[in-house]
């Protein structure tokens, strides 16, 4: 099978940021993404999920440059102020044109 290497960027953030993060992901040029509702704990103070909602996980498969672009935006505008983590990994896909 003919597979291609692309980047999977995973963002876990407070649910409130959903629309703004989708905007950033699209703005950077990603073709699609998957969002799931998740929960967990982190280094910030206890989350107040009763009122403000739980966390979301956004997964984006894209070119390395696109993922870098999103990560740069996250670092500038989101990491200092909000509860967000993000990480990248390599993935193998078929049908590369679906993602880039």
């Amino acid at each position: 099978m003919n597979t291609h290497t692309l980047t999977l960027l995973t963002i876990v953030a407070e649910a409130l940021l959903k629309d703004r993060l989708i905007h950033e992901v699209r703005h950077a040029g990603a073709k699609g993404f998957t969002i799931t509702e998740v929960s967990g704990e982190g280094s910030r103070q206890r989350r107040v999920s009763e009122i403000l909602g739980d966390n979301i996980k956004i997964e984006v498969i894209a070119k390395q440059e696109t993922a870098d672009k999103i990560l740069t935006t996250l670092q500038k505008d989101f990491f200092p102020r909000f509860a967000v983590v993000a990480y990248m990994s390599e993935v193998q896909v078929v049908r590369e044109d679906k993602y880039v």
Binding site: E14, L16, R20, Q45, V48, E50, I51, L52, K76, R81
Partner: protein
């Protein structure tokens, strides 16, 4: 109803696994807010606009004063950071719909049907927005100024304090669930009038079993949330606890006084006082989190939910009622 709230707190204290599913909580709040708007609209369709004008002006004035007084107190007496003080002030400048319902019910129980002016839900929607906006503006401008001073002092370049624009905040506040439901309900209520309302009355009316039941369940959930925040009281500190009790008394007295100035009767003054005294927990928290993420949610949610809301329910409303009676007397036939 107060018992349901207390029961919720007890459930948390004994670490019961009881939890109201979030979807039910959302559904209940949608139902309550829409019912409130609908009834308000129906009443509005039969009242004269001139009667509304002075109370409306007074309400907007209240919505302007309470966030500023809250901010100044927290910032300069309580030594809170700009973001925290503004975040808490946004909650106290806005209004709690459940406190409104409880105050209305209290006045009607004590003074009888018709003792609360029919246009009070309109005032509720008027009071909801300005307080949040003013406090957020104070916070955003204050933070930007502080950052500029800091970067001048250290010689580092001015950091960009980008956040959502004020247009975006306005849009978010005006389209927030609570606002859309209240205003939408009112418009529909205005259109259908008494005749149309009669067909949905058993489901939506405040006097019916359905509404009372939903409110009781909602209060149980509020108790659960407040109970889980009780542990945070020790982080909140004595000043915030005192603020959560004294601020509603001062704002409540101001609300009653200004209601009396506007010529409202005792029942309506009680409700206006409770509105001014209450702290929001539906519209304000997401708005503050989005615009002032530097503010610690533990402070504003604990103050609004675990201190001020139960205080108003148990002590505040009867207190504003007494103030209202002392100021305007019971002029009902």
């Amino acid at each position: 109803m107060v018992l349901a709230f207390a029961f919720g707190i007890v459930c948390r204290l004994i670490k019961s696994e009881l939890a109201i599913p979030r979807d039910l909580y959302t559904s209940l709040s949608i139902y309550l807010l829409f019912a409130l708007g609908l009834k308000g609209g129906v009443e509005l369709s039969h009242s004269q606009w001139q009667q509304l004008l002075v109370p409306a002006i007074v309400t907007v004035a209240l919505g302007t004063i309470t966030p500023i007084s809250s901010f100044l107190t927290l910032r300069y007496l309580g030594r809170f950071s700009i973001a925290d003080a503004a975040g808490i002030a946004a909650h106290y400048g806005s209004v709690s719909a459940v406190t409104f319902i409880a105050a209305e019910k209290f006045a009607i129980t004590n003074l009888g049907e018709g003792s609360v002016a029919p246009f009070m839900p309109t005032l509720l929607t008027l009071l909801e927005i300005p307080g949040i906006q003013i406090a957020l503006a104070i916070g955003v401008i204050g933070l930007a100024k502080a950052k500029r001073t800091e970067s001048v002092a250290t010689g580092s370049p001015v950091q960009d304090v980008s956040g959502p624009s004020f247009g975006a905040v306005w849009h978010e506040l005006l389209t927030a669930r609570s606002m859309v439901l209240l205003i939408g309900g009112m418009v529909i209520g205005c259109i259908i009038g008494y005749e149309g309302y009669a067909s949905v009355k058993p489901f939506f009316d405040k006097g019916e079993w359905m509404f009372k039941g939903a409110l009781t369940l909602f209060l149980l959930e509020m108790g659960l949330v407040a109970g889980s925040r009780l542990a945070d009281l020790k982080h909140a500190g004595a000043f915030l606890i005192a603020f959560g009790i004294i601020a509603p008394i001062v704002h409540g007295a101001l609300g009653v006084y200004m209601g009396a100035l506007a010529g409202l009767n005792a029942g309506s003054c009680t409700v206006l006082g409770a509105m001014a005294a209450s702290a929001s927990y539906i519209a304000a928290p997401p708005a503050v989190r989005m615009t002032l993420p530097e503010a610690n949610p533990t402070f504003y949610l604990t103050a609004a939910l675990a201190i001020t809301f139960p205080f108003n329910l148990l002590v505040g409303i009867p207190l504003y009622f007494r103030m209202a009676l002392a100021m305007v007397g019971n002029d009902l036939p």
